[in-house]
């Protein structure tokens, strides 16, 4: 019996010691001094774990000398040894995220501190609560060397992203966007022009689905993308689930949208006075032309008010993530709706994404990422369209009205608004249907197999599928459907369908080896196949029975249709070797060989090598003193390419044509079998510096990028039968300097941080063939075109006559006779400005106090010029009397002796001298803009608990609140030729940016 008792006693004690003793405690942090809920606590080496409660308290069983691991997202993980204390109280420190961050560099990833190239990462917290459509918009002003311009305030509209300037004249300048290893479609998907503003493929992705975007800027960082990397690479990785309990989040955001500013236009009385003066100056009788004071100006319509509205923005999303030891998942569903400030303009997106990762066994892991997204873009015409909405509203004479006395819309032909050259913009907004439905599927399956302890194989196969359906109808009461005689006046419908599909498969081997803990070697070698397919079809119908019938099934004539398909591809092999010596000296060498279908036999393959090295000085004995926490010098050199040119330029081709009811073939272009990639040679040097335990972090980079072999349509004498031939003729240079500084100014109860980025890029055309300048942009009188590409000048250079002022005696414009030949003509046109800024950047200040946080983000651009091309119409010196004028027209010359900068108004096509294209239209486009203000409040855990929620955050976010600029148009941050490189910065009736004020709520469910 005693034995039995003893045995029992022993057993109990063994069990007890295995279970350990019960201990409790509390976890706190700087932000949550009363207790940090939700902290994961695990006994090291076991499965035993608990989570802290609302007060941050926990109780856990632990053996003596056991180790407790405290972990929580955003905090440094802590280990505490249990030595029999009565309670364990822990204060978790916020993670200094910078250096320990893993940076995904495309095919592989690397610790941020080991980077040898120039890579910038943008913290998603900076844009998470902004009202943005796509992740490209999120990058605006956030990274040095990255210039992001939203071309207008059109929702879901075009956004131009330039990394380290423009590297091409003829081919694309958009960076390569890689999402989960898949190069995705960027730019416009729609095939239809809307006068300037295009749509944006990247708006189909929900920015919340992705971790921090990584921007690869120098040759070394981009080298593995070879022939597509000249314009920089932006890498996005979708969020993955993490081990632990399932985390569910819901977010609601709603707001209002208004244009930032309206152009100041004349009212009826002012305009009539001006027009009568212009007519009298031309020696005619204004009354005879129907310009009668007191009659004509009896109506005074503010057309901008008529077409503008306050838009509503709304966004809802719900996500869940979690996982266990073998499987993790993330899933998200979201809806975003953004009404444009123009009537009838709206962008809507629904997106679903899910990521799964499954560890099949110790060696084999499978993963899958799927995004499904669908948008509906209800577009309206704008910019350089006679029948645009915003453009029409600006130009419309205030004498006219949108509605008649019965409240019905006025349509062309009515004396209330006759139409041509402008059309009732309200009708142009409300009546047509321009619906663009876009469906996107981005899906991939990947597997990783550990072949040997040092050798890993990863393979992925993926698809980027985009389906665009454009459903358009312009009724018989619109300009196109009703007035255009060639259409027939009884409605006009178009139906377009385009499918763009990219298949990408790759396989990569990774090898890493550490020799004696001092030498670390990483090798990567892989191959990739990319194929793209495009199919499109369209049909056009006219002469509908009435406006109740709006689909082409009801059209009287179906007289234009087409279908097409094309394909292309890229085959590549690539390799990278990274070596470091005690993490102090780091060297990377890489190489990619690309074969592209865009080039002819013998010219298909291009090779893109790069090397880089870094020296972590702060790890050296002689520099290891307190102030400097990190100091690294970097240098890189290498080549990247641009293959994005139209297909089959190497072939002389004939395409189909018709004549007199017969089909035949006619030559399309001259082939050039020698065309090759555009190649950019890039040199980058940089310094990373951290001071006072990284309270100040700075990154400085300088670069010189020389692009050669620019693919241009080289102008050919037309006597050859052709206007141009594709050829590698030009050279461009971009050199610049970039600085990013992040500081923690105060880190007490209040935490105040500042981040600044500054960029200066000098772009210059170094060579064109034959030194013949290329004219770009719009046609204008007094010059060959509004823009020129010219050796020695940057891209985006404006030309025109040099306006010297207004002759006080005659009121006529004075232009510089630059060639002194005694007459003013196109030959006198000179460079009159440039759209490229001298300096641009952003400054973000963030202040956190307890549960409150506030951030304010300023963006600026300095020294860029804007061509206010709208003023060729809106300040036209009386060239016609069919368009309203801006308030500046009140300053016009009226009598001898007047000193002014606005010439005399005289009606008549015979004298447009005062309105020749000149520097009069070029303005300083510098601006400082409070781009975003964000205020947030985290509810206390107790309150959240009362709401049966894990955590709740409410926030208020506002964009484009305040702008400082001298630009006289509505907005300096516009560009009518959306995406153009050679003719950027033109304001040609471009819709200004919008101001969005929204409130939101984010809740984590229990």
């Amino acid at each position: 019996m005693g034995r039995i008792l003893l045995l029992f006693w022993l057993t109990i004690s063994v069990i007890a010691s295995a279970l350990g003793q019960r201990v409790s405690g509390q976890v706190v942090s700087a932000v949550e001094p009363d207790g940090l809920p939700g902290v994961n606590i695990v006994v090291k080496g076991t499965n035993t774990g608990v989570i802290t409660d609302l007060q941050g308290r926990f109780t856990i069983d632990i053996p003596l000398n056991g180790v407790l691991i405290f972990s929580f997202i955003g905090y440094r993980t802590q280990e505490v040894v249990y030595t029999g204390q009565a309670s364990i109280n822990v204060r978790l420190e916020e993670e200094p995220r910078e250096l320990s961050e893993v940076v995904v560099t495309g095919y592989s990833s690397v610790l941020k501190k080991d980077i040898t190239g120039s890579i910038t990462s943008v913290d998603p917290d900076r844009y998470r609560e902004l009202s943005i459509n796509g992740v490209d918009q999120a990058l605006q002003g956030q990274a040095a060397g990255v210039q992001v311009t939203q071309s207008s305030g059109t929702p879901g509209g075009g956004i131009s992203v330039r990394i380290r300037g423009s590297t091409s004249i003829g081919a694309s300048n958009r960076p390569l966007f890689i999402i989960d290893g898949i190069p995705v479609e960027t730019g416009s998907l729609s095939g239809r022009s809307f006068g300037g503003q295009s749509d944006n493929a990247l708006a189909l992705f929900n920015p919340a689905d992705y971790e921090a975007p990584q921007i690869l800027k120098d040759a070394s960082a981009k080298a593995l993308y070879g022939s597509r990397a000249s314009n920089g690479v932006i890498i996005l990785t979708s969020k993955k689930g993490k081990r632990g309990s399932t985390r569910m989040e819901a977010e609601v955001q709603r707001g209002v949208i208004d244009p930032v500013k309206k152009v100041d236009l004349l009212n009826s009385r002012e305009l009539l006075e001006l027009q009568r003066e212009a007519v009298r100056n031309a020696g005619e009788n204004p009354d005879a032309l129907g310009l009668i004071a007191g009659v004509t100006d009896a109506v005074n319509t503010d057309w901008l008010d008529e077409v503008f509205r306050r838009g509503i923005m709304e966004q809802y999303q719900i996500s869940a993530s979690g996982g266990d030891d073998n499987t993790t998942f993330y899933m998200n569903a979201s809806y975003r709706g953004e009404e444009g400030v123009q009537l009838n303009n709206k962008f809507e997106r629904m997106s679903f994404s899910s990521n799964l990762e499954r560890k099949v066994n110790q060696k084999f892991t499978l993963g899958s990422n799927i995004t499904l997204s669908r948008s509906l873009n209800k577009r309206v015409k704008g910019d350089n369209f006679l029948d645009g909405v915003y453009s029409g509203a600006i130009k419309s004479l205030p004498y006219y009205t949108p509605y008649d006395e019965n409240g019905t819309l006025v349509w062309p032909g009515s004396p209330l608004y006759p139409g041509f050259p402008n059309f009732n913009p309200v009708a142009q907004a409300v009546l047509p249907r321009f619906d663009v439905f876009t469906t996107k599927v981005l899906a991939s399956l990947n597997g990783t197999y550990q072949l040997l302890p040092e050798l890993r194989l990863r393979a992925q196969t993926s698809i980027d599928y985009n389906d665009v359906t454009e459903d358009q109808y312009e009724s018989s009461k619109t300009a196109i459907g009703g007035v255009l005689t060639s259409v027939g006046g009884r409605g006009y419908g178009i139906f377009n369908a385009t499918t763009l599909t990219n298949f990408i498969s790759n396989a990569t081997l990774f090898y890493n080896k550490n020799i004696s803990d001092r030498h670390h070697i990483n090798v990567l070698a892989g191959t990739e196949v990319l194929q793209n397919f495009e199919r499109s079809g369209s049909v056009q119908g006219r002469l509908f029975p009435s406006d109740d019938f709006t689909y082409i099934a009801s059209a009287g004539i179906v007289d234009a249709g087409s279908s097409f398909r094309s394909r292309g591809g890229l085959f590549s092999v690539f390799s990278e070797v990274r070596y470091d010596f005690m993490e102090k000296i780091l060297v990377t060498a890489s190489m990619r060989a690309d074969g592209s279908s865009n080039f002819g036999p013998g010219k298909k393959f291009g090779y893109f090598p790069a090397v880089s090295a870094a020296w972590r000085l702060s790890d050296e004995e002689f520099l290891s003193f307190g102030t400097i926490s990190d100091l690294k010098l970097r240098a890189s050199f290498g080549y990247s390419g641009n293959e994005r040119i139209p297909a089959f330029g190497f072939l002389g081709t004939w395409s189909a044509t018709t004549y007199n009811g017969n089909s035949g073939t006619a030559p399309g272009n001259i082939g050039n079998p020698n065309i090759r990639w555009e190649t950019t040679q890039e040199l980058n040097v940089g310094v990373d510096l951290g001071l006072w335990e990284d309270r100040v972090q700075a990154t400085l980079d300088a670069y010189i990028n020389n692009t050669s072999g620019l693919l241009l349509g080289r102008p050919y004498a037309a006597t050859t039968g052709f206007a141009s031939i594709q050829d590698n003729v030009g050279k461009l240079q971009n050199k610049g300097i970039e600085l990013m500084v992040e500081t923690v100014n105060i880190d007490r109860v209040i935490k105040w941080t500042t981040s600044i980025n500054l960029s200066r890029n000098l772009n210059k055309v170094v060579a064109l063939t034959d030194t013949v300048p290329l004219f770009r942009g719009y046609q204008a009188e007094g010059t060959n075109a509004t823009n020129i590409v010219k050796v020695g000048e940057p891209l985006g250079t404006f030309i025109g006559l040099k306006f010297l002022g207004v002759n006080p005696a005659t009121g006529d414009a004075i232009y510089d006779d630059s060639n002194n030949d005694g007459q003013i003509n196109n030959d006198d046109a000179v460079v009159i400005g440039n759209a490229q800024p001298k300096l641009f950047g952003g400054v973000t200040n963030r202040v956190a106090y307890g549960r409150f946080d506030l951030s304010a983000f300023f963006q600026f651009s300095l020294g860029n010029k804007i061509l206010n091309f709208a003023n060729a119409t809106l300040l036209n010196a009386g060239q016609d009397i069919e368009n309203n004028q801006v308030k500046a027209a009140l300053r016009r010359w009226r009598k001898p002796g007047d000193i002014t900068d606005v010439p005399r108004y005289e009606l008549g096509a015979k004298n447009n001298f005062n309105n020749l294209h000149s520097s009069r239209l070029v303005e300083d486009g510098s601006y400082l803009r409070l781009k975003n203000v964000n205020v947030g409040y985290q509810l206390s855990p107790k309150l959240a608990d009362r709401l049966k929620l894990q955590s709740v955050r409410v926030f208020l976010s506002a964009t484009n609140l305040w702008t400082l600029t001298r630009y006289s148009g509505a907005d300096p941050e516009v560009s009518t030729l959306d995406g153009s490189t050679t003719a950027q910065g033109i304001d040609f009736f471009t819709l200004p940016q919008v101001r969005t004020v929204s409130v939101g709520l984010n809740a984590s469910l229990k």
């Binding site: 007199n660 004498a717 006597t719």
Partner: protein, 446 residues
């Protein structure tokens, strides 16, 4: 297992390589396949007509907007410059016409170089297509030399030669045209499916016009008579049918559009945008008694009357819905007018087989008063006005005024900006820049 997986993946990838980077072009033919089998001949022939058609609409701009027929009423600077007589060497219409001439010549040269050696082509078809190439190239050069003066004489498809090629003088160009017409006159068929395709009578009409322009009155009369006497063509009883329909019974040759392939260029300019409207002088002429039914070439709408807009519209090319969008190259009345002028110049203003007979054929069709007894000088003036009314908006007026040395007098009265520089269009600036042999060879005054 591992090795097998690895191998499989790499083999699959390599297999995909060739297919990936060597796709076949879709809906395109490479140069060497464009005309390498008999079936291609018809296609290339259509391509040539299509190119020629693309060139022709600018001859309407040159012939009528450069002269006093039309006014500019829109916003495009290329038309404004011509309309207000401030034409610059950068003018886009000049560049388009120039390019159209040489694009037509390129296809013609391509055919003339390759078709003779292409086996298996039926003789009749070979003859017809070679003749078409000669004829359309000749007419393109005819327009070229009377628009721009001496121009480069391009007779091959060799890019290197043609990129650096100097002007030939007008006589050399005329010689080429005579050769081309000579080659075409015996190879083109006597009749075609419709007037959209060239016939031997179209070549005769072209020769009549050529000899009229070069002052060879006897030959002009001969060829005009051959066309008139062929009895292939008859005047439409109602003139408005000439304005409003295609392929009339009097059409000798016109470029054909169907509703489906009309780019809408002229009807957009004249009716859609009303970028270009008839001048007041033209309206007065067409509204005159002598014009008769030819008034139907224009129409008035009071809603258009404002500012500089006189409210009148050119109806000639209608709207795309009207389907009268063809552009006439030659129709029977021009042959009467050529013969009338040739006869008047040869001292037969009135009398038997005289200019008056020819003019009165057109007057009576238009229900206008007949011409009575007039002097030779008066008859030439009558013919000048008759051409303006009968051939309105078919691109004749400027060429007529220049060749009869009347341009300076008429145009100075029309526009204060007129200079004799505008007796020729400028060689397009881009040609001076891109063709070294033309670099310093602009027409005088530009």
């Amino acid at each position: 297992m591992k090795t097998r997986i690895t191998c499989c993946i790499f083999v699959l990838v390599l297999w995909a390589c060739d297919e990936t980077i060597n796709p076949k072009p879709v809906d395109l033919l490479v140069d060497d396949l464009a005309l390498n089998e008999p079936g291609d001949v018809a296609n290339v022939e259509i391509g040539l007509y299509s190119a020629f058609r693309g060139m022709v609409y600018n001859t309407i701009i040159a012939g009528d907007l450069t002269a006093d027929m039309m006014l500019h009423n829109g916003t495009f600077s290329q038309y404004r410059e011509i309309g207000i007589k401030q034409i610059t060497s950068a003018n886009a219409s000049a560049a388009e016409l120039w390019a159209g001439i040489y694009y037509t010549a390129y296809i013609a040269n391509f055919i003339l170089e390759r078709l003779p050696d292409l086996p298996g082509v039926p003789t009749a078809q070979r003859q017809r297509v070679l003749g078409t190439a000669h004829f359309l190239r000749g007419y393109a050069y005819f327009i070229g030399t009377y628009t721009f003066g001496g121009i480069p004489r391009v007779t091959s498809t060799d890019f290197e030669t043609n990129r650096n090629i100097a002007r030939s003088d007008r006589q050399e160009i005329l010689n080429l045209i005579v050769e081309d017409y000579g080659a075409a006159i015996n190879t083109l068929p006597a009749q075609a499916a419709n007037a959209g395709f060239a016939t031997t009578l179209a070549v005769r009409a072209a020769l009549a016009k050529l000899y009229l322009y070069t002052g060879n009155w006897a030959q002009a009369e001969t060829f005009a008579s051959e066309v008139i006497n062929s009895n292939e063509f008859t005047l439409e009883p109602d003139f408005s049918d000439v304005v409003l329909t295609d392929f009339t019974s009097e059409a000798i040759f016109e470029v054909g559009y169907t509703i489906a392939d009309d780019p809408g260029t002229l009807n957009t300019l004249f009716e859609g945008r009303r970028e270009i409207i008839p001048s007041n002088e033209t309206i007065i002429a067409l509204a005159s008694t002598e014009s008769g039914d030819r008034f139907s070439s224009i129409a008035f709408n009071v809603l258009n009357l404002k500012g500089n807009d006189n409210g009148w519209t050119i109806r000639k090319y209608g709207t795309a819905v009207d389907d009268n969008n063809n552009i006439v190259i030659f129709r029977l009345p021009e042959m009467y007018l050529i013969r009338a002028e040739a006869r008047a110049q040869q001292g037969r203003a009135t009398g038997a087989n005289s200019a008056r007979d020819d003019v009165n054929v057109l007057r009576s069709r238009a229900n206008a008063p007949l011409v009575g007894v007039v002097s030779q000088a008066q008859m030439l003036t009558v013919i000048e006005n008759e051409r303006r009314m009968e051939l309105a908006f078919e691109g004749h007026r400027w060429y007529d005024l220049v060749r009869t040395n009347r341009a300076t007098a008429v145009m100075t009265a029309f526009s204060p900006n007129w200079k004799d520089t505008y007796l020729l269009w400028p060689v397009p600036q881009r040609e001076l820049q891109n063709n070294p042999a033309l670099a310093n060879d602009q027409n005088p005054g530009y």
